[in-house]
Symmetry: C2
Subunit: 438 residues, 2 copies
């Protein structure tokens, strides 16, 4: 036994789950994956380490400050900080082998050296889908993406959530029509309206040097509200003679029309002219998704349309549209809010406990159950029977079968339901039925 014990611990800002929570996390990941696959998205799995020159081709800002460098030999390497940059690199690199429109999903870990605070993680899962066109991509894709969000969050067990949809061209076009050239200066402020409120936004716009007329127009514009059809109607009635604005309104109109065809119910999406989504990446449709009963959690799934995915790696024009679920953060927040719980969350359906001298029969039965597709553990250690039952209980395994003399000599098994405590005698056929029906 060593005298130099290293304290077992992990780095701050990294999530590590206990087995029952991990089962739940994996279930969520499986549901997301299945929904992505159901819509024809193909998996990829790219290296977590990439050349720094590739990851930082765009360069600048927060990204570079948050990056984890990797050191081994002389190559300048880093850990990926999102799944979009690796996608851009992948599509540019494998351009000639891919079939466009290329639909890919990617569920994987990314790394950001963020300031350490509760609910923020430095290693976290993203679950992304994107559709990439070669030169062009139908606007109908912008309507299908929210239908994937809808299908996914329904399957995750949520009923009340709203996908808020806007089009950046509408905002840009409208600001242009007010004589504002630096659209981002407005967007940067408008984007914060959920967080800081209307008055503070007004204040900041004044500070930025916009005129009162401009600010009033901006605020009255982003306060347009009502049913989806009413919002579309208002946009048209504004009668703004700006090409970008008209293009954006037309696109939003098509997205609205097709969203309904894709079967997304009216209560689960909302045209919302305040949504801007960050600064410079998105160029058209943008999405944010909120859980209606937990608005403070913020957006749980966001994304949008971009003109050119891989401009830093290729001269091919590759427009796309996609979304991302920040799975680690979502899971953490759902747990914190008590929305999801992990009691009795076993994958194993039955624990077979052979009594002393009946291991042969216990093991044989376990193999038979597994061949029927029933996840089965056989308890192999020597200890008191009570401890064995308590083991099943603590792991949340719903059923126990004890194997002894009686079971050896007859085709009768006693199945114990660990939740109700009830026991039931049944033959093999009945046993399988009971365990499968659970």
């Amino acid at each position: 036994m060593s005298n130099n014990i290293v304290k077992p611990s992990i780095l701050p800002g990294f999530m590590e789950l206990n087995p029952t929570d991990q089962i739940l996390f994996n279930k969520m990941m499986d549901i997301i994956r299945k929904n992505y696959e159901k819509f024809g998205f193909l998996p990829i799995d790219t290296p977590l380490i990439e050349k720094s020159e590739v990851l930082l081709a765009k360069g600048g800002g927060e990204t570079e400050k948050q990056i984890y460098k990797v050191v081994k030999g002389s190559q300048d390497m880093s850990l990926r900080f999102d799944l979009t940059v690796p996608l851009a690199r992948y599509v540019a690199q494998h351009y000639s082998e891919l079939n466009f429109p290329y639909r890919r999903y990617h569920i994987g870990k990314v790394y950001r050296g963020e300031r350490n605070q509760k609910g923020r993680f430095r290693e976290f899962y993203q679950a992304d889908i994107d559709v990439i066109g070669n030169n062009s991509l139908s606007i109908i894709n912008d309507a299908e993406i929210p239908s994937v969000i809808y299908s996914t969050f329904k399957d995750l067990g949520f009923d009340k959530f709203t996908i808020r949809i806007n089009n950046r061209k509408i905002l840009s076009g409208f600001f242009n029509s007010l004589g504002i050239e630096d659209v981002y200066a407005v967007l940067r402020v408008v984007d914060k309206i959920e967080k800081i409120g209307r008055d503070k936004v007004k204040e900041e716009l004044v500070e930025s040097g916009f005129s009162i007329t401009q600010i009033d127009s901006i605020l009255s514009f982003i306060s347009i509200d009502g049913t989806n059809d009413a919002v579309m109607q208002r946009l048209k009635s504004l009668d703004i003679n700006n090409e970008l604005f008209i293009e954006g309104s037309d696109e939003l109109g098509i997205v609205l029309e097709y969203l309904r065809l894709f079967g997304v119910p009216e209560e689960n999406f909302k045209l919302d002219l305040t949504i801007a989504r960050g600064l410079d990446y998105y160029t058209g449709t943008v999405y944010e998704t909120y859980l209606d009963d937990y608005p403070t959690i913020g957006s749980v799934c966001s994304g949008g349309r971009y003109d050119n995915l891989a401009e830093y790696y290729t001269n091919q024009k590759l427009p796309g549209v996609g979304i991302s679920i920040g799975l680690t953060r979502l899971f953490y927040q759902l747990m914190e809010a008590g929305i999801i719980k992990t009691i009795d969350n076993s994958l194993t359906r039955v624990l077979v406990i052979p009594m002393e001298g009946y291991f042969d029969e216990g093991i044989e039965l376990s193999s038979k159950l597994r061949n029927e597709g029933i996840f089965t553990q056989v308890y192999l250690e020597e200890t008191k029977l009570g401890k064995k039952f308590s083991y099943a209980d603590k792991l949340g395994i719903p059923f126990v079968i004890v194997i002894g003399e009686e079971e050896k000599n007859s085709d009768v098994y006693t199945l114990r339901d660990m939740i109700t405590g009830k026991q039931k005698a049944c033959d093999y056929k009945e046993l399988i039925m009971q365990l499968n029906n659970y």
Copy 2:
């Protein structure tokens, strides 16, 4: 468009698959996961980055040279190089929350800065299971582990493979009985017999200073061969009066007996006294698994019993037994050998192609099919019909349905089988049946 194009490429020694290969890789990973879960193993997912002092607590040798350091702030961090060290740290850290015997599986990426050569990867998946006891762990677990290997490789589609089994105590005890103290000096050489052959082993043993009598005994011992029962018989008939040897023989005897109870067929395992598995980690039962028709691939699944999992992190005695599949390397070699192929490997079952003006009907049908659980993509771009068919063909999507005037006005769909080229007219109910039966 940017003028500064960064060449899109990945680091040498990293695997990145095209979409169809990735689908196959994921299928293999799913099969492994399902088999692990079927036997009651619980998932964990630990951070890829850990404190260097934790990862290198054991210290020394190859590991330290191959490690990837991670730099961000002042903390000394590294990428994990296997899944065993994180398991040891996890069990020590969460000792009081875990239920023993603790069975965990872990499928994840690990990092080793190995010399760059064909078929060797610096980032690769390991798929591990381990059973950890608190203070003690029944030897029967050593027989269940090969039954998991058997079940997994059968499900992966292999029939002819052999799990070779030995017990380190037999080797150590036997060498002790010959008056050899430094057992590892022998094991180190014996371990290479598959690679360098019997003569070279003899030569090296001479060089190491062993006597001819000792060497002859060693070589005659490790050439013991025959049926599993014959090998057990020979071990007993040697009548060696060494405690360790007797303990190891007894353990191997129990493992043999229970392996049969666990349902592993005789042709899929073999007692093999040449198996030693590395140097200092394993203390009892050891396993290696070979594909009978492809011996040059080497062991595809290895592992064994160890006395003390987490001695560098806790004073708790935690014996365990486990195995590891090096999935990335296995996949690469199976592809290279042509054992697995990835033609027509789509997840998507049907591509719905709406003609101009029939998007409504096409999208509606797609949603209905997805609700039936059929993975469906709808083709949304404008291009020639021929290109749309060729898209389905290239992606290996087995069925196509074209939606036009006829389909709008009747309940008749034309289902085209993309492999045979045959078309079949069917109503909705028949359509579902056809697509589900595929």
